[in-house]
């Protein structure tokens, strides 16, 4: 075989590769939707539901934190807005969460724009610190105005039987499917944004804000747009959480842990791909749940320790995230001669 002929054999047709990728996506989607039938226990199904919930929120966080590298540590605020809006609308006004969740998303967009205009003036690390302060502010406000929020006692949803129209289901499998649907929606949004003009602008801001300005990009407006979408996605997660757990208080709503987890899953999964954050949540949520389940009593502190060590190892080995690594392997697979 001549040298000139060899490479052409290696290069697959674009359409062939697209078809394989689409088939792979369908298989993964099938695996996700079939989860209730192979995870076994109700506890495992609950973890699968949490995976989808955190996958959704991490994908939402990534639109701004990952694509544009605007690291927000205050995204739990949008989670809180989503959770409290659905909770309060249901408790005080008997509004169905099916409307409460979209209302929470809309409110989160407004809150996001209100927060973004001052905080985006802060550059780099100061932006992260500024957003971190939001958690404190939210916690204090929601604790203090207890006539609206229930204060430190939090909100508990009333028990009113299994009424699907009020987002109350008899079987946990329904919660799982709703969370899975939410995550699929977040994945589609994430993909759409990445491949749109907005996605290119966000990446430009991440790589070189100076060059982005010289290309005519309005930095503030672009970041605000991403923050609005990001806030809405995270608020949807918060609304779902309220219905799933049926309880929220300022400590769990404005939790640093929630904020960090969104960022962490995205960073481990891969911030530059549209599906990386979901991958991160799929791996890390079960891991943290099981390590804290298996190691109890005097061994309990080992759970978080093992989890922390594992994170360090992954970050050292794959600093650009698992998604990028997998993509490169995939790329190599198509280039190597068969």
């Amino acid at each position: 075989m001549s040298d000139s002929a060899a490479p052409s054999l290696r290069i697959p047709s674009r359409r062939g590769r697209r078809a394989v990728e689409a088939a792979l996506a369908l298989v993964l989607l099938g695996l996700l939707l079939a989860a209730p039938f192979y995870v076994g226990t109700e506890f495992a199904l609950r973890i699968a539901t949490l995976c989808c919930l955190f996958g959704t929120m991490s994908l939402g966080w990534n639109l701004l934190g990952g694509y544009a590298n605007q690291i927000s540590l205050g995204h739990a605020v949008f989670f809180a807005v989503g959770a409290y809006t659905t909770g309060l609308l249901e408790i005080d006004f008997q509004v169905t969460p099916w409307l409460g969740i979209p209302a929470g998303m809309a409110l989160a967009v407004l809150v996001g724009i209100g927060i973004g205009i001052p905080t985006f003036r802060l550059a780099g690390h100061y932006f992260a610190l500024g957003t971190l302060a939001l958690l404190q502010i939210g916690d204090i406000l929601f604790t203090y105005y207890r006539q609206f929020t229930g204060g430190t006692l939090g909100l508990t949803l009333p028990i009113r039987g299994y009424r699907p129209e009020m987002f109350s289901f008899k079987y946990p499998i329904w919660y799982f499917y709703i969370a899975a649907g939410m995550m699929v929606g977040a994945l589609l949004a994430s993909r759409l944004v990445l491949r749109s003009g907005l996605g290119y602008r966000l990446r430009a801001i991440k790589e070189n804000p100076l060059a982005a300005q010289l290309a005519g990009i309005d930095l503030l407006r672009t970041k605000l747009t991403a923050l609005a979408v990001s806030a809405a996605v995270v608020a949807a997660g918060g609304g779902f959480y309220m219905q799933f757990i049926q309880f929220i208080d300022p400590d769990s709503a404005f939790s640093f842990q929630t904020s960090i987890n969104m960022a962490l899953f995205a960073i481990i999964g891969g911030v530059n791909s549209w599906w990386g954050p979901a991958l991160g949540a799929m791996l890390l949520v079960p891991l943290s749940e099981y390590t804290s389940l298996q190691l109890t009593g005097r061994l309990a502190p080992l759970g978080p320790l093992a989890y922390g060590l594992l994170l360090i190892v992954v970050i050292l080995l794959r600093p650009r995230g698992l998604a990028e690594w997998l993509l490169r392997l995939w790329e190599r697979l198509w280039q190597s001669p068969t």
């Binding site: 003009g197 290119y200 990446r203 430009a204 060059a211 010289l214 005519g216 990009i217």
Partner: protein, 240 residues
Amino acid sequence: MSGPLLELRSVSRRFGGLLALSEVSFQVQAGELVGVIGPNGAGKSTLFNAIVQLIPPSSGQVLYQGRDITGWPVNRVVASGITKTSQMVQVFGEMTVLENVLIGALLHQRRLDLARRQAIEDLEFIGLAPRAELPARDLTLADRARLELARALAVRPRLLMIDEVMAGLTEAEVGEMLDRLRAMNRERGITLLVIEHNMRAVMEVSQRVLAFEQGRLIADGDPSSVSRDPQVVEAYLGMG
């Protein structure tokens, strides 16, 4: 519009105790190709940054098409038709060459497919089309400078300021670049301000030359008279 495309009225820029631009005033008419010369530290790059409002003037006004644009956000200046390339080349390193130019094209063309087509044309014009799919960080410095020029063209400016795009080019490549500058100026009607250390190139291509020294505009005229200007000769020979 009959007035000048660009007008500076006693523009100064101070950095602490240093006066990087001192009472600079000049006009540029639409369609001109103007060379900007001067020794290192004369304030040439600061001039471009002050016009595009990356480093807004400390005092004085920048007028574009008769409107005072002093203090405008950079992106608004760019959207209105002025952009520049940078001495310290600014590209998006992790993106492909094509994506770099696409981002410029997206300013006035919101449809991705059309913006991509336009970006390919701009890359062909600038001679980088064969490298379209490479990450920008893999280019040589000279190619990155050309890439920045392609991106600047993609935003469809009326006034384009080019800060040293010839550095690191071979003699033949300088010739090609000069042809491109002329083509941009004549065929595309873009008004050009060009900072260049390659004196032969700048004198050959420019219709008019502005000479700077220590933040002051010391000569403004056609290339041959500026090169004979005693102050310019002093500034250059005094350095050597």
